[in-house]
Symmetry: C2
């Protein structure tokens, strides 16, 4: 099954797969919601999943499907959006992760390896994952503050919105800056976007 919100990309992937005698596309869609229902109908051997989808994200779709079909196998196919996406996808249960822009042989390799129970992480992906500092894990509250930071809100506005004191917001911001290893909020916003912690 192919899940990608770009119809042309689905056509490309489908023609690569259907050109082989040992693979076939049994279903395709552009939304995570439909992916969940389609999976139940077709139970494909391997699902190729884009992460950036309208509404429900690819990670959420993987989680939803795997909660009902724990044996389901996923290969993520996406544009590079930072190490956070890689981490979340693998944590959700994806066994392969390839990046649009890699030669299409890589796609075939990944599907074969994952189908036979293996994993597939190309060197650039593995490297991005390894460079992730474990210290950069943010608490849920900190992620919430970070989202408002990215929205361009001041400490005072965030305090009002969350119903806490400005002092507390400052405290959160300070720990965010420490964890992201930056020195001001603007840099925090940029690295959060770069690493895929927050999506625009």
């Amino acid at each position: 099954m192919i899940v990608d919100d770009h119809p042309l990309m689905r056509v490309g992937v489908a023609s690569i797969i259907n050109a082989r005698s040992d693979m076939a596309v049994v279903a395709q869609t552009g939304t995570g919601e439909e992916a969940v229902t389609l999976f139940a109908h077709h139970q494909p051997d391997v699902t190729l999943m884009d992460l950036r989808l309208p509404q429900m994200s690819g990670v959420d779709a993987i989680l939803a499907i795997r909660s009902r079909f724990p044996q389901s196998k996923f290969v993520v196919l996406t544009t590079y959006e930072g190490d956070e996406d890689i981490h979340r996808a693998l944590e959700a249960g994806a066994k392969g992760y390839i990046i649009k822009g890699m030669p299409y042989q890589t796609l075939v390799e990944a599907l074969l390896r994952v189908h036979t129970g293996g994993r597939f992480l190309p060197p650039p992906v593995a490297r991005a994952l390894a460079s992730r500092m474990p210290d950069s894990e943010l608490s849920s509250r900190e992620k919430e503050v970070l989202r408002h930071l990215v929205a361009g809100m001041s400490n005072k506005e965030i305090a009002g919105l969350l119903g806490i004191t400005e002092a507390t917001v400052k405290c959160h911001v300070s720990t965010i800056l420490m964890r992201l290893d930056v020195s001001d909020r603007t840099q925090a916003v940029v690295t959060a976007l770069q690493r895929g912690l927050i999506h625009l």
Copy 2:
């Protein structure tokens, strides 16, 4: 000719086009540099151009080609990256602009219309272009300062780097905030990224 750095996307586009009796793909590549040389060899009727390419951007490729072949016709095919990209592409001479994620019939329509000398701007694209405030044009110096803002530099650092006073940097930042219609540098960074004024 197809120019896109995602091989799978090229396969998808090519199979849509080659399935028709009235069109054919004569060349394809993933870089702007090769697009320029390939164009000279094949002189395709219409060139399908992605904007986000490694090294040389799609806009630069269009400009380079049109400087030697002013009659050349371009349709931009890209993921939505903000109104600034649309504006720059049309200014560079593109006659069509479609977004990956639109149904593939749109691609065929656009190619036909542009080939017969017409234009093709889907409503969402036209709307994004219309919502561009003419007041938001930044001078080249201001864009330079904005790039350093996105890099997370302080006014003092920018002043040192550009060899000007901190007071001057403050002035530039203030006009940038006014033109982008925001109230602080963090918001400026976010909207600059959203609208495609600066690329990460």
